[in-house]
């Protein structure tokens, strides 16, 4: 839960900055203000969210306990310290911070150590569970994407710190940004989210576990796209060749993977045994829709030649429509579920217990999710239209939607929506708001 709490604080902070007009589109995509905002979102929000979710969920995927139940907490401290150093480093580039401290060197060390602990812990858990099922294989490839993203990001930070001035590092710094973005958004965040969503959607809707040729194709195409972009892109840049064909090839592999994934998800919804679809699954569909829309936009813009000009808008849709939308939707299931385990698990069989679904009030959460998605799509449209004021209005709406969802999560955590008579059966315990859930169940 501490991962989720830190992640949500980062998301709210980032949306506040966007609503205040900080960074893109008021500044360029590579301006320090935009870089601060982007890393607050992808490191502070999405990566912490996914790490926290994987510590809970990888043991479910592989039916084995986490390799270490104690490593997640020091990893979180290191990642938060690294994030703070990185953001301060960007503020120094901006001139907002004047202290001449080695922020980027510190960020490199802390983030590399923190993510190494995460990779070690999850990697050992997966390794011990071989042969892996398909969802776990997605996570394994996603972790390779994380390793690549961190390695390239650290190279960038060391160049900014002045610690890495080899020609190869400088070339990668100058032209390697697309690799960093593809490995991070496409490899780490998207492939992992796909794998997790396959299993979560099947589990919660009582749909059959997917082992279709299309599922295998999604993973293979996604892994190849990641490999081509990272390995091929790096080689092209280091050999001073044009890397554009390499990225186009990676895109040509990645786009069919998105379409096949969307078909698989539609199949899960169609073949579900539970007729009623809970809000978290409905909102996950909106997120997958955003991913498909982003893929279609990438193809259309690449063929019409506007991809570079609209890269910010497309990235926004991927980050806030797809990844953040799916993240918030699944948090709306994970938080009540973990809270139920903490509060009611110990009294099961001794006293009547509510259902997990009794911990949430979907009629209240629905409007906040609706506001969130409409705002995210409106903000994307505003970026396409280069309308900065409309973007700020949409970002403010998105902030309001997120705040509403967070409030619903806090209510679930506090058991506020459970009828008072059933809230605390004898022997149950009130779970703390933030701490306690870093241990594996």
């Amino acid at each position: 839960m501490s991962y989720f709490a830190a992640a949500l604080v980062a998301l709210l902070a980032a949306e506040s900055l966007m609503a205040a007009g900080w960074g893109f589109p008021n500044a360029s995509l590579q301006a320090p203000a935009t870089l601060l905002l982007v890393h607050l979102v992808v490191l502070g929000w999405l990566s912490l969210l996914l790490c926290g979710a994987l510590f809970q969920f990888v043991p479910v995927l592989v039916a084995r306990p986490l390799h270490s139940g104690t490593l997640p907490l020091p990893a979180l401290v290191l990642l938060l310290g690294g994030l703070a150093a990185l953001l301060t480093g960007f503020l120094r580039l901006n001139g907002t911070v004047t202290a001449a401290l080695p922020f980027f060197s510190a960020a490199s060390t802390l983030l590399a150590t923190g993510f190494s602990l995460v990779l070690w812990n999850l990697g050992r858990t997966l390794w011990a569970a071989r042969p892996l099922g398909w969802p776990a294989k997605f996570v394994a490839v996603g972790l390779l994407g994380l390793a690549a993203t961190v390695a390239i990001g650290i190279t960038f930070a060391l160049v900014l710190a002045g610690d890495a001035v080899t020609p190869a590092a400088l070339r990668l710094f100058a032209r390697g940004l697309p690799i960093h973005v593809i490995a991070g958004l496409g490899g780490w965040l998207t492939l992992t989210a796909m794998g997790v969503s396959y299993r979560l959607l099947a589990m919660f809707m009582l749909a059959p576990e997917l082992d279709r040729p299309s599922t295998r194709a999604v993973l293979r195409l996604g892994a190849w796209a990641l490999g081509v972009a990272v390995v091929g892109g790096s080689i092209a840049i280091l050999l001073k060749q044009d890397s554009t064909p390499v990225f186009l090839a990676a895109g040509a592999l990645g786009m069919p993977a998105v379409i096949l994934y969307a078909r698989d998800v539609a199949y899960l919804y169609r073949t579900r045994k539970r007729r009623t679809i809970e809000l978290n699954s409905r909102m996950a569909a909106a997120a997958v829709g955003s991913l498909v829309l982003a893929a279609m936009l990438i193809v259309a813009l690449a063929s019409m030649g506007g991809l570079v000009r609209h890269a910010g808008a497309v990235a926004f849709l991927v980050v806030f429509g797809w990844l953040s939308g799916l993240g918030l939707a699944k948090l709306y299931k994970i938080v009540p579920f973990l809270t139920w385990l903490e509060c009611y698990g110990p009294v099961l069989g001794r006293a009547p217990t509510p259902r997990v679904q009794d911990l949430v009030a979907e009629q209240h959460a629905r409007k906040w999710f609706g506001l969130y998605f409409i705002a995210a799509w409106a903000a994307t449209a505003a970026l396409f239209l280069d309308c900065a004021w409309a973007f700020r209005v949409a970002a403010a709406m998105q902030l309001a939607g997120t705040a509403g969802i967070v409030l619903q999560l806090v209510r679930a955590r506090r058991l506020d929506d459970v009828p008072a008579s059933a809230r605390f059966p004898a022997g149950s315990r009130r779970p703390p708001l933030i701490l306690s859930l870093t241990r594996s169940q």
Binding site: V60, A63, M203, L206, R274, P346, L348, R350, V356
Partner: protein, 111 residues
């Protein structure tokens, strides 16, 4: 204890197990089909063979402990032995008609 005398406590044990719910599906574990077998031996020890809806379910330990607790409180039960199995794996068709109705699952939709 002859077999006739054992039937009654077994039914009591199944009734007691109905106080344990699967938290996600919100229905008792007996009617969900998660209890594969219940027997009581001559020493009064209850043997429960059960599963979970999905392998690796985070609630597994609590469900196992809940099953044990619910039966252990019955009079005449000397001990409870709960064994978790995934052979066969659970599927929705193992639910009773009541459980299916509760979850909005149509009988004919089950293959």
């Amino acid at each position: 204890m002859n077999s006739g005398e054992r039937e009654f406590p077994v039914e009591h044990a199944r009734q007691a197990l109905r106080t344990v719910i699967d938290p996600e599906l919100g229905y008792n574990i007996v009617d969900l089909g998660l209890i594969y077998d219940v027997s009581i031996d001559d020493a009064g020890v209850a043997h429960v063979l059960m599963t979970t809806t999905t392998r690796g379910c985070p609630a597994t330990g609590y469900l196992q402990e809940g099953a044990r607790e619910s039966v252990a409180r019955l009079p005449g039960i000397a001990g409870v032995d709960v064994v978790m199995t995934y052979d066969p794996e659970w599927s929705p068709q193992m639910m009773t008609s009541e459980a299916k109705r509760h979850l909005g699952i149509e009988e004919e939709s089950i293959p």
